[in-house]
């Protein structure tokens, strides 16, 4: 299987393979790559300073998130992972909403009920994120089934990592999608690690994309640090799904530059030399060279954009930090649509405890 690559690490590219994107699109993509990088820097710092409890860094994987989600329509559905904040930004989730969740404050859409980085935003069809690995794949399949049942032209895109391919739900989801020929794209961000374990401990298969063949549909491997290749693969397969061509598995080959989370120390299980090698393949670096070569970005514009993104991230974080924690009563709402007697009683007891 040949890996789709358009834009190489040195900024050279194959003009024959360039996807159909306007200059405006390309600059917008770049802005979002920068935004995700700046957001990650800020998120890590906030956690290290003890201002938020937990953070998950997705540095290195920006091209997978932005490239794939860029190929979606606004009415499409996404089931992301906790490492896909770029998908939220790109689809228009306000940054304040993202930070409110990290601070688990009174304005948090999740009402302070979830560990940081577990976003969800109904308005933009971004389904709430869980921690257990691969559970969302079967949900995505159900949504794709419902779409087909209702005869809508909507595609479901779900993200997951290389570790997820070891779970039962990877198998049952892809199997289900293949049997019913559903309008869905499975995007595996193969970032080489599931916490401490390298991908070779997840599978003896030559690659992940080829696993699709056993479910009766196409698998395709792309350079996950090449946003043009990611976009092209996603666009082609999303279009295919939309026109009734069934599911596809995309494997984006990328690298998790940081630890698994703020609770992880990657120096225990991987060499710095490996990290240095991947630094040279950075998805943002090469896209910047590409845009400059095409005359779409100058050094000065780049610096200005980086500063703007950094300011926006920092200002929004400060705003979210000012918001009070959620009210006690939010612990009891939304367990069910209506509160059953036993929860009413427990809430009542808690309120009395406070007086």
């Amino acid at each position: 299987m040949e890996m789709l690559s358009i834009l190489r690490a040195d900024g050279e590219y194959d003009p024959k393979l360039e996807p159909d994107l306007s200059d405006e699109d390309l600059v917008k993509m770049y802005r979002h790559l920068i935004l995700v990088r700046k957001f990650n820097e800020r998120g890590m710092a906030l956690q290290r300073q003890g201002r938020i409890g937990f953070f998950i860094d997705s540095t290195g994987q920006e091209a997978c998130q932005i490239g794939a989600a860029y190929a979606l329509n606004s009415n499409d559905w996404v089931y992301p992972t906790y490492r896909d904040v770029g998908v939220c930004f790109l689809r228009g989730v306000p940054m304040k909403v993202i930070f409110d969740q990290l601070y688990a404050n009174a304005q948090d859409y999740m009402k302070g009920r979830q560990l940081g980085v577990h976003w969800g935003y109904k308005e933009k069809n971004i389904v709430t994120i869980g921690s257990p690995i691969a559970t969302q794949l079967v949900h995505a399949v159900g949504t794709a089934y419902a779409v087909k049942y209702k005869n809508h032209r909507v595609v479901t895109l779900t993200f997951f990592g290389d570790g997820a391919t070891s779970q039962g739900e990877f198998h049952t989801a892809l199997n289900f999608a293949g049997v019913f020929k559903l309008p869905i794209v499975f995007f595996c961000e193969n970032n080489q690690y599931a916490i401490s374990l390298p991908v070779r401990r997840q599978t003896a298969s030559e690659n992940i994309a080829m696993k699709a063949w056993s479910y009766g549909f196409e698998g395709t491997q792309v350079d996950g640090n090449d946003i043009l290749a990611v976009y092209k693969a996603a666009k082609d397969t999303i279009d295919k799904a939309r026109s009734g061509g069934g599911p596809t598995l995309i494997e984006g080959v990328t690298y998790r530059m940081g630890g698994h989370s703020t609770a992880d120390d990657p120096s225990k299980y991987r060499n710095q030399s490996e990290v240095e090698m991947w630094k040279k393949r950075d998805p943002i670096l090469r896209f910047r060279l590409y845009l400059m070569k095409k005359g779409l970005l100058s050094e000065q514009e780049d610096r200005k954009m980086q500063q703007e993104m950094e300011n926006e991230v920092n200002e929004t974080a400060k705003e979210a930090e000012k918001v009070a924690p959620p009210a006690l009563s939010t612990m009891f709402s939304d367990v069910y649509e209506e509160m059953p007697w036993h929860l009413k009683e427990e809430l009542d007891d808690l309120m009395k405890e406070g007086t």
Partner: protein, 324 residues
Amino acid sequence: MAQLNLVQTVNQTLREEMRRNPDVVILGEDVGRNGGVFRATEGLMDEFGQERVIDTPLAEDAIVGAAIGMALYGLHPVAEIQFLDFIYPAFNQIVSELAKMRYRSGGQFPTHVVIRSPYGGGVKGGHYHSQSTEAYFIHTPGLYVVTPSTPYDAKGLLLTSMRMHDPVLFLEPKRIYRTLKEEVPEEDYTVPLGKARLVRAGSDITLVSWGAMVHTCKAAVDLAQNEGISVELIDLRSLLPFDLEAILTSVKKTGRLVVAHEATRIGGFGGEIAAQASERVIDYLKAPIMRVAGFDTPFPYALENIYLPPPERILNTIRKVAHY
């Protein structure tokens, strides 16, 4: 009005609701062409088509997981898990996803899914076709757990469950699928969750049960009556939420409480009922609260009729409590 047994009632109720609501879909193993291994979905594929009555690949986690994704997109899926004993590959999907999605998303993503599953012993099914493990699910915030013991209640509770905006585990006591028939009204009616049914009025002892065991309890109540002990029998019908008020009202009158279930005793739901009652009406109690339950062994095959509490075992406990 038609005379229907419990499984016919389930079938008829699904059919009626599917005619009313085009968003209702059924999915599970063998539910389509075969009509379900207990025939609960018989004829539905012929009427509603294979896109709506979906024979899925053999994977419980995908059945429940897909039902979640369907619900998020606006369908009202009714998933069948062939036997409750086979539900565990979907356990994570049920307890961590289905039951938690509304809460964890701040109310953005409710999951109105009904999972129907036959459960309980007495059908010579062995360990993998007999267990009553409702307590695992009652222990799950975000999930409702329901079990009818009559055809009438099966319809009313199933319609309520299918119209909820929350997930419901609808447990069908398969031992009594075909053992009793009664008149089931053809019109639309619902039985609310959290309301118990008074099966027999009595004055000496309150006996609480659910599912197929309600009928064993009725036999025990008759035996007790012969000995001059008047037992009030309550069928909980819905286990979460459960009708504590009905239990307490009865216990205040009788001063004695026995809970009977097929499930194993330790960690069984009978313990919760006993604790709730002792916390609230201890001053009314004239005897210890006692439980009659399945033994704390795996479910046996050859000896299942010994394992399942027979009326005589319930009677023995009634006697102990009555003569304490």
